[in-house]
Symmetry: C2
Subunit: 250 residues, 2 copies
Amino acid sequence: MLSKSRLKYIQSLAHKKFREVSPEFIIEGPKMLEEFLVNNPGLINEIYALDKWADDAKNLLRSVDPNKIIPVSEMELEKISLLSTPNQVLALVKKFDPPDGPILKDRFTLVLDNIQDPGNMGTIIRTADWFGIGQIVCSNDSVELYNPKVIQSTMGSILRVRVFYLDLETWIAKQKDIPVFCTALEGKNLFELQPVKEGLMIIGNESKGVRPSIMNAATEKISIPRYGGAESLNAAVAAGIVMAHLRRSC
Amino acid sequence: MLSKSRLKYIQSLAHKKFREVSPEFIIEGPKMLEEFLVNNPGLINEIYALDKWADDAKNLLRSVDPNKIIPVSEMELEKISLLSTPNQVLALVKKFDPPDGPILKDRFTLVLDNIQDPGNMGTIIRTADWFGIGQIVCSNDSVELYNPKVIQSTMGSILRVRVFYLDLETWIAKQKDIPVFCTALEGKNLFELQPVKEGLMIIGNESKGVRPSIMNAATEKISIPRYGGAESLNAAVAAGIVMAHLRRSC
């Protein structure tokens, strides 16, 4: 049973201004719940679940204080879900502790300049996780990490990839001891790049690409060769092709 | 000025059952309009535009019968737009003539088994266009081509890539004289594939992958090597990595 005050609070998290001041964020659906219950159950504050799901997931739920599991009806779930089709369960999860800062002993760091589409951001985090790239540095004007569409598109990879938001112009200017690759239309063919062992890889905004002040910090401009008529690639697809190539070349 | 009957008709195209019987589909926004106006203005039946856009685009609009351009107010555009933020202009465009069938003299054909997410489908069409892959064969149960989210995600590439829907099991069983690559979890490392000059490349459903009856037709199973924790890649990202590799290897 969902109280009126909880209903109102959860609904408020659909809006960025309330999300920003909340210590929690929303995850939805069995797949996301499983990722958190298996890997980091301590982050979960409350679970709003249909009985059917709670029953199916009872083994997974053993690590959770029963008081944190609130049974809801389909109608109640519909009221709090941010999905177009609610998917059995929704949970409130503690935001991650703000990390100290990017660690450059990681071999590869992905750098995102003003990515705006939440689906792209989430998909990029998921792809980074697949390729074992453990951290992503984003410009402060990139889409916020806790946007529900970002979180859902990560498919749980948010648990394994550290995502930093910072003043990218200032930060990138300080990175002197590491190769900085940047996607650019006039860049060198990615596939002709000599194998690299480490580096930063900058991917730019969906329509404007990487801004010039950040592009300036690049030690090498690269591009994905084009064979056909499309003007551009989707940012998440481009990031995937670049990450795949960096990984296979090392 | 938008008549009541046109308003009702355009709104009906938000629903699949009405789209299926309509000879037209919707495109939105300056970028899409430009693609169609430059490459195939004859497909455009009607343009519903804010004065501001019509004024900016007047050179582009020279190839269009002025009677086809209907000025609308922001409020009217909001009523017919399927975007969360309407983007200056919406047009009704003739559906493409159903093509005779896939042409296998093309070097590479992408094959999609039951792709369900419209954003993925559109992004895959856009990526195929980038890599000069001119045709895509889809199972009949894949998301429909004229779904507005598919069309918008192609970013105009729908004009250059032929997309076929057919009974994939029957069709794929007949393809005997060409290598058939299929993504599979237990497949061989994509990046160790010998250079290929032609082939079919099968990408599967977002959660279930390629169905066994279609996988059986593969001459080679391939996978994208994983280095990290994610369980899977987004289907459009996986398709992009595969297409990039096939293109660079030939």
